[in-house]
């Protein structure tokens, strides 16, 4: 029966099992800390392993050598990466792949993605301007831009919006500049172009595709934050079990215990909404379930990591304490997922007016 609000297929359940184990093994917190200090921000060898697991082929259509699955199938992987703060361009590449499939015309790029090349997308809301067939301007928040092989971007010509691809090796030095992000476990770059003409047009962008891409990205960030919410609860619980004050573990005090139960429940709700969205995405119920997943993930991850900082006391205020890593990753996640107020407004329309 298709009526269920939540369900998980066999392939997705297998993916969840493998991803849970893989991310826990490959991204212990010491590795996360190492990647933070690394200029590239992730390990190429780890990326190669992710590619060899076939995860970058999940969305690539079968005729381009991939699995041709829906975005929902990548959710278990992204959730587990978020949980371990794993640094890799997976979410960016996944969002770009989904975008290429939506737009059509990315036939040349899709097999390269399956093979492990890094294709990332600039936000479509900030297009480059076209003048005399060349591009100029600066666009920021290009995730993993410096490591990318290809950058997708929107370009505006008159009132026509198109998607183009730029091979990063065609860029002059200094065109890409690392940005200072709230989240140290991820990287982004700005791209400055000046009468640049070495790009390929992929296809036209209409409002529907732009909207769908933004929801794709929001759902992927929701998965990352849902994993992060779980981890933040676990980190805070671990400390509350160990830390003793007034002769008792602090977790025995209800101000702490009940606060942790509240964020635990928030994380459980987020996970239910997330896997419902993964199941329903692309159906008529997809938009409602995805926006609910985003709203709840932002709330759960923000509150869990916020309490995790507070419940570590003075240590919580340090860079060494992991709580801040989850809080700051969720801040970037929330920004990338789009304003929660707008998701809520749209939900009100969908649920109350239509």
């Amino acid at each position: 029966m298709s009526g269920a609000l939540i369900s998980i297929g066999e392939t997705e359940a297998d993916l969840l099992g493998v991803a849970t184990k893989f991310c826990a093994e490959k991204a212990p917190i010491e590795a996360v800390r190492r990647w933070i200090d690394d200029a590239q921000g992730f390990e190429s060898a780890l990326w190669a392993e992710i590619v060899s697991l076939g995860w970058t082929s999940i969305l690539v259509p079968e005729d381009a050598g991939g699995l041709g699955m829906e975005l929902g199938a990548t959710i278990p992987v992204v959730e587990q990466m978020g949980r371990r703060l794993l640094a890799a361009p997976f979410t960016a590449v996944t969002a770009s792949t989904a975008l290429l499939v939506r737009v059509g015309g990315g036939e040349a790029l899709l097999p390269r993605i399956a093979a492990g090349e890094i294709v990332t997308a600039a936000p479509l809301s900030t297009p480059f301007m076209v003048k005399d067939g060349t591009l100029s301007g600066t666009v920021g928040l290009i995730l993993w831009g410096e490591a990318a092989d290809v950058i997708l971007a929107a370009v505006e010509d008159g009132n026509r919006l198109s998607l183009i691809a730029i091979e990063t090796k065609a860029l002059g030095t200094g065109a890409l500049k690392r940005e200072s992000l709230i989240d140290d476990t991820r990287r982004s770059a700005s791209l400055t172009l000046d009468r640049f003409d070495d790009f390929t047009v992929i296809g036209a962008l209409d409002a529907d595709v732009v909207g769908a891409h933004q929801l794709d990205r929001a759902l992927l960030e929701a998965a990352d934050m849902t994993g992060g919410a779980r981890a933040a609860v676990d980190v805070a619980v671990g400390y509350a079990q160990d830390r003793v004050q007034f002769g008792r573990p602090i977790g025995s005090y209800q101000a702490i215990k009940h606060g942790l139960v509240d964020v635990h429940i928030g994380a459980e709700k987020a996970r239910s909404h997330l896997y419902s969205a993964a199941h329903l995405y692309g159906t008529g119920e997809g938009e409602v379930s995805a926006r609910m997943a985003v709203v709840q993930a932002v709330k759960a991850a923000s509150e869990a990591a916020d309490r995790a900082i507070q419940f570590h006391g003075g240590f919580g205020f340090t860079y060494d304490c992991d709580a801040q890593l989850y809080r700051r990753r969720a801040m970037l996640g929330a920004a990338l997922a789009g304003d929660v107020r707008q998701h809520r407004q749209r939900l009100a329309e969908l649920l109350l007016d239509e």
Partner: protein, 403 residues
């Protein structure tokens, strides 16, 4: 005939039966929950209603046929329970018998206990109440002080229970009493009894509830004699049995007879009410109200999803007990808060209560809000649920109370 076909037929029969038999207007206020039952009129009506539902085969459908059940798989009873809810049928009266005492007896009771009690629980012939809470010991149930002193073939019971739902109607009580002499031995001194109620030495005094009506009772034991074979389990094992019973009560353990014992309001009903109040085309325009409704709809959906997810093994692999243990807290707090929003969103209409012409839907939402506390307090308060979740799901150290 295939299993699904048989189940579909059962669903159709159940829908048809409830459509035909659900009373339209009984001429008096029907209780929203088994804890709201107060008048003899309500009691008599609901007792008869439960018997009819059972006779039709839509209650206890999954319980063993030897004791009056239907002997069918659980899915059948679930279908019947849903059909009753859908039809807006009255609640099942004998909740404490059907949903916690019955499953407990079927689970760990003796053959004699099963034969003696189960059928009458289903038919509502014998009504059960619960004697756990005492005036001085509620959340701290393990410190209960009511005494059961062995005297030959009897136990002599002395003390008082309180907040006894349906105490003045009940034929039997599940009773937690102290058999150990030492007053401070706590859990170890407790024993569990299936006690008759209509005997010398037991009396009940109805208590007036926050809604203004009389409902639950204080129950007094003044040297009441009950046969020793009323004891369930060994002397001193009462706490263990009580904890198991609470798992049935809180829905963390399955095997209940079924049938709804609480009529829950839904967000859809709430929105329909607001649209009627809004008049015109029924649009809900206020942005703050809209935003609050988004929260309500999301939380309601989350609860349904949590329930469904708890049965999907790969999605609960790491912490299988979490979702069942958070259910009571999340659900009862949601109902309280939704009903509260529903009353406040009525604006000035929110001022009226049951019986006034100006009350919206005869004060249903005000009444539902006040009654919602019965579930956030009864069965272990929300604060106690948080202790349980913190300790048993998150693994945090026990509460400082020294239990």
């Amino acid at each position: 005939m295939s299993e699904t076909k048989a189940l579909e037929d059962f669903r159709r029969d159940a829908d048809a039966w409830f459509a035909e038999n659900t009373p339209k207007d009984v001429g008096f206020m029907l209780p929203l929950t088994f804890m709201e039952v107060g008048t003899q009129q309500q009691f008599d009506f609901l007792r008869d209603w439960q018997r009819r539902v059972w006779e039709a085969g839509f209650l206890g459908a999954a319980w063993p046929t030897d004791y009056g059940g239907g002997g069918l798989p659980q899915a059948y009873q679930d279908v019947a329970t849903e059909a009753g809810k859908r039809a807006g049928a009255p609640i099942m009266l004998n909740a404490i018998g059907l949903n916690w005492t019955g499953p407990l007896i079927l689970d760990i009771g003796t053959e004699a206990q099963k034969a003696a009690y189960i059928r009458d629980i289903l038919s509502a012939e014998a009504i059960w109440c619960q004697g756990f809470s005492e005036p001085e010991h509620g959340s701290d149930l393990g410190s209960a002080q009511t005494r059961a002193v062995r005297d030959g073939d009897d136990y002599v019971i002395t003390g008082s229970k309180i907040w006894t739902t349906q105490g003045n109607f009940a034929d039997y009580m599940i009773l937690l009493a102290r058999t150990d002499g030492a007053p401070d031995s706590r859990h170890r001194g407790l024993s569990f009894f299936l006690s008759p109620m209509k005997i010398d030495g037991i009396s009940t005094t109805p208590i007036r509830k926050l809604t203004g009506e009389y409902g639950f009772t204080q129950t007094f034991f003044e040297g009441a004699r009950i046969p020793a074979d009323c004891r369930m389990g060994a002397e001193g094992e009462g706490w263990k049995i009580a904890v198991r019973l609470l798992e049935y009560e809180r829905g963390a353990r399955g095997g209940q007879a079924g049938g709804h014992v609480i009529t829950d309001q839904t967000p859809d009903q709430m929105i329909a009410m607001l649209r009627r109040l809004a008049g015109g085309n029924g649009a809900i325009a206020d942005p703050l109200m809209r935003d609050e409704l988004v929260d309500i709809l999301m939380d309601y959906r989350a609860i349904q999803l949590n329930r469904a997810r708890s049965a999907i093994a790969p999605l609960v692999a790491e912490a299988p007990h979490s979702l069942p243990l958070i259910e009571k807290l999340v659900w009862t707090e949601f109902m309280r808060s939704m009903n509260q929003s529903a009353t406040s969103m009525q604006g000035a209409h929110g001022a009226y209560y049951v019986g006034d012409e100006a009350a919206v839907e005869d004060g249903l939402w005000q009444r539902a809000y006040l009654n919602a506390f019965s579930a956030t307090i009864g069965g272990g308060t929300s604060q106690i649920q948080k202790n349980i979740i913190g300790e048993h799901v998150l693994g945090l150290a026990k509460d400082g109370g020294g239990r």
